[in-house]
């Protein structure tokens, strides 16, 4: 019995042999990279980054895992490739000189090449073999299959492609074969069915004039893999894929608290403020003081000698600094001392992924305790709400694993919050949700604040008057007409009762969908 158990454990610890790609995020989704010594088919339409991904696989192989590679190009020649990848900081010239990479451009005869009788593509195999031997390659890229088989008949294509896959396995190389997807003959011929091991599809979609690249693993035999479509970006350092799952799991929930910088608000939040590493949403109509709340939080964090990253999507940093000066928050010295850092970018400047990536990179560099996104709704002009939601979810997950407290502000239009679906979407994934609103009290416009929810702590149910003065922010009970100090006291008593009897919700953090 014991033996059986041991055996079972052994099989569980079995790891499918894989070859790390070194591409950020891709190794997480595939839990370890491409199947080792097997061919992987990389599908995608024109311009979605197949060649780049394939080349990065080779270059990372050389630089990170000491595995030389062969790049068989049927499209671009060596000089073109070297030049193209220079802008991606891939130093192909050095690798070529060190015999770590071998690039062979296979000149294909024009499609009207003369044919008489039977033939095969043994010439290619001979050249490939020679190339592999030249650098003792462990990784091979064939780019792209369409160009190779263009001009050779379908019959040849079927049999030779199958033979190529078997042959590559025999050579014990981890291979990536790129191919066009869509209306081209490849998918119509069902070629991906031959590749039993791993098929990855890339996609390039434009919604609202903003293009998003996506990656999906169609199949990966013998291994677990993420099933979703993952957005990825190509920047000067290559490809970064954004997985949700890898970052979501190992969250530790902190019991430490962090002050909001407003004593009255802390009081409303169980007298202690937010949880460290939680996510906070401040939503409200225009001019209700969302940014002021956020700035107050940032100011307090920095004063406590913790770093804060303030991502401003609406106002320029010096405008924020000037405006906050007027309500008693002097942010400038904090910026100078490096405690407060601004990220400022127009939302329409680039797509959502690039924004988050830029912020993510800053987070990695700065290691802030608090990140503020002001306002998150401006990013929503960027793409459909479902997109921003999934992006936000991923971003919040990332921050949570880093134990960073995040505060978003969200501008909503006048009207009830229930009628604002985008806000609803965000509010379900945050831990603490505060709403600031304009209400009318005795024919006077009054700012009000209430805590809509706050996971894991007793919080006040009161709507408080929210006052911004040159000395900062204070919250006080709303005094309605004829209200005397007597009713004030009653209110206070009631509030106290509220606090002490309110049920403590259980601090389980849900992973929003």
């Amino acid at each position: 019995m014991k033996k059986l158990k041991e055996e079972k454990q052994e099989t569980n610890s079995f790891k499918f042999p894989k070859s790390l790609t070194g591409i950020q995020g891709l190794d997480d989704i595939t839990s370890g990279g491409m199947p080792k010594n097997r061919p992987t088919l990389l599908l995608g339409n024109t311009g979605c980054g197949k060649t780049i991904m394939a080349m990065e696989f080779l270059v990372n192989g050389i630089e990170m895992y000491d595995e030389p590679g062969v790049f068989m190009s049927f499209e671009e020649n060596t000089d073109e490739l070297v030049l193209n990848f220079k802008s991606l900081q891939f130093d192909l010239i050095t690798h070529l000189a060190n015999n770590k990479i071998y690039i062979e451009h296979v000149q294909l005869n024009p499609p009207e090449v003369l044919k008489s009788g039977m033939y095969d593509l043994e010439g290619l195999f001979v050249r490939l073999k020679q190339a592999i031997n030249k650098v003792k390659a462990k990784r091979v890229v064939l780019d792209s299959l369409d160009t190779l088989f263009y001009g050779f008949g379908y019959k040849i294509l079927r049999s030779e492609f199958k033979r190529l896959l078997t042959w590559l396995k025999e050579q014990k190389v981890t291979a990536i074969i790129t191919a066009e997807i869509g209306d081209t003959f490849l998918t119509r011929q069902g070629l991906e069915e031959y590749v039993s091991d791993c098929v990855i599809a890339l996609d390039n979609r434009t919604t609202n004039q903003i293009t998003t690249r996506r990656l999906r693993i169609i199949k990966y035999r013998g291994s677990f893999h993420g099933n979703n479509e993952y957005p990825f970006i190509i920047d000067e350092k290559g490809i970064t894929v954004f997985p949700i799952i890898s970052e979501a799991f190992e969250q530790e929930s902190s019991t430490q608290r962090i002050s909001s910088g407003i004593k009255d608000l802390d009081d409303m939040l169980g007298k202690k403020g937010f949880y460290m590493g939680s996510s906070i949403l401040v939503s409200g109509t225009a001019g209700t003081g969302k940014t002021s709340l956020a700035a107050s939080f940032a100011h307090n964090v920095c004063q406590a000698n913790k770093r804060c990253l303030f991502c401003a999507f609406e106002e320029a940093p010096n405008q924020v600094i000037r405006n906050m000066q007027s309500i008693g928050f002097n942010l400038e010295p904090l910026v100078k001392s490096g405690m407060l850092t601004f990220y400022y970018s127009r939302p329409t400047l680039q797509n959502l992924e690039l924004h988050f990536l830029a912020i993510k990179k800053m987070i990695v560099d700065l290691k802030p305790s608090v990140v503020i996104l002001d306002p998150i709704t401006n990013l929503m002009t960027e793409g459909p709400n479902s997109d921003i939601r999934s992006m936000l979810t991923r971003f919040v997950d990332f921050l949570k694993t880093q134990h960073i407290t995040v505060m978003f502000t969200a501008a909503i239009t006048v009207g009830s919050i229930e009628r604002n679906p985008s806000d609803e979407g965000i509010s379900s994934m945050v831990d603490t949700w505060m709403m600031v609103q304009d209400i009318e009290v005795d024919a006077e416009r009054t700012r009000s604040l209430c805590v809509m929810k706050s996971r894991g702590m007793p919080h006040s149910n009161q709507v408080r008057k929210f006052m911004i003065s040159n000395k900062g922010i204070t919250l006080s009970p709303i005094i309605t007409g004829g209200g005397k100090s007597e009713s004030d006291t009653r209110r206070r008593t009631k509030e106290h009762l509220n606090l002490s009897t309110s049920k403590e919700s259980i601090g389980v953090k849900e992973i929003p969908q």
């Binding site: 062979e104 296979v106 000149q107 294909l108 005869n109 090449v113 003369l114 044919k115 008489s116 009788g117 039977m118 033939y119 095969d120 593509l121 043994e122 010439g123 290619l124 001979v126 050249r127 073999k129 020679q130 190779l148 050779f152």
Partner: protein, 103 residues
């Protein structure tokens, strides 16, 4: 005028020497057939004025690179110019003859 040059070319071809290179892979069926077919064609149409070099890319893989060989077998007519490439085992006799300007 055009007819005249065409005619003189054809006349020239009759005396011209042909130089072929045939790339094969060992004695695989396609290659073996290609060698046999080429021999027959040359003996029938170019007797005494042809030169055939058979290259086995298994033996000389570097030549596969320099001559840009992908499909095998492939026949390259080096001379007379222009160079003509034909892939396959040359079993379609008529097509081969036509492309080589022999009929």
């Amino acid at each position: 005028m055009k007819e005249l040059t065409a005619k003189s070319n054809a006349e020239g071809n009759e005396k011209q020497k042909y130089v072929f290179r045939l790339f094969v892979t060992g004695i695989l069926p396609n290659s073996a057939r290609a060698i046999k077919n080429l021999n027959t064609i040359c003996e029938q149409h170019l007797k005494g004025r042809y030169d055939v070099e058979i290259i086995d890319i298994y033996q000389q893989p570097s030549l596969a690179l320099t001559e840009e060989i992908v499909a095998v077998p492939v026949l390259i007519k080096k001379f007379p110019l222009p160079e003509v490439r034909m892939i396959g085992d040359l079993s379609n006799n008529e097509k081969v003859l036509k492309e080589l300007d022999l009929i």
